[in-house]
Symmetry: C2
Subunit: 125 residues, 2 copies
C-alpha cells in the first residue's frame, strides 16, 4: 500500500575499464561515488568565465591554446589563471609548458565521458 | 611579432530558433551570453546530491518520479526539496502536482541541448 519504493542503486561493474566516470544519467540512479565524480566535472563548467575559457581552448585550432590566445574574456590575467587551474584540477584540461608559455588542451576522453552522461538511454523494455 | 591573437567571438545567428542554448563547446569560443546560459545548467548538476536526484528522476520508469520515489540519497526531505527546486529553476526539471504528490520530469530538450554542448565539433577544414 506504500507509495515508496527502493530504487536499485547498482554497483558499477568494471566501470573503470569502460569509461572514466559513469553511465548516462537516464540509465539508472547514480551511486554516491559516481555522483561525486560527475558533479566535480559539471561544477568546473558551472561558471561562465570558466566555460568561456574552456570553449576557447576546445575550439582553438589544433585543439590547444596558450594563455595568450584565450585571455579575451574580460577578466584579469590572475583570474584567468585561477580558472584554468580549476579546469585542470577537475581533469577537463591538461597543460604543458613550452618556453615562455603554458599550453592548454582539452582532455578528449573527459569530454566524451561528459557527453555520454547526457545521452538518452534507450527505454528499458 | 605579437603572440596575441583576437579570437572571433561570433554572434549567435538565429540561435533561439535552433536550440535552447548553444553550439558545441568545441565549435567556437562561447559568447558571454551563451556562457551564462550554459553555466547555469552545468552548475545545477555540479552538486553530488542534485546529480543523484536528477539521475533518479531521469532513470525512473515513465521518465518521471514523485518525491516519494527519489528520497533515498541520504539527506533530509527539506534538503531534497531544496535541490529539486534548484534543478527546476535551472530548467532541468519540470514538476506537476497530482493529489498529494508533486511529480518531477526531466525536460528532454534541455538534456539534448546539454549533450550537444559536449559533442566534438568536426575539425574545421
Amino acid at each position: 500500500m506504500s507509495n515508496t519504493r527502493v530504487l536499485p542503486l547498482l554497483e558499477p561493474v568494471g566501470a573503470e575499464a569502460v569509461a572514466p566516470c559513469c553511465p548516462p544519467l537516464t540509465e539508472r540512479p547514480f551511486t554516491a561515488e559516481e555522483a561525486e565524480t560527475a558533479a566535480r566535472m559539471f561544477k568546473a563548467l558551472g561558471d561562465p568565465v570558466r566555460l568561456r575559457l574552456f570553449s576557447a581552448v576546445a575550439s582553438h585550432e589544433g585543439g590547444e591554446a596558450c594563455v595568450c590566445d584565450i585571455s579575451d574574456v574580460g577578466v584579469s590575467q590572475p583570474t584567468v589563471s585561477h580558472h584554468l587551474k580549476k579546469l585542470k584540477d577537475a581533469g577537463l584540461l591538461t597543460s604543458e609548458r613550452r618556453g615562455t608559455w603554458v599550453y592548454y588542451r582539452v582532455e578528449p576522453s573527459v569530454l566524451a565521458a561528459m557527453g555520454r552522461l547526457l545521452t538518452i538511454a534507450p527505454a528499458a523494455s
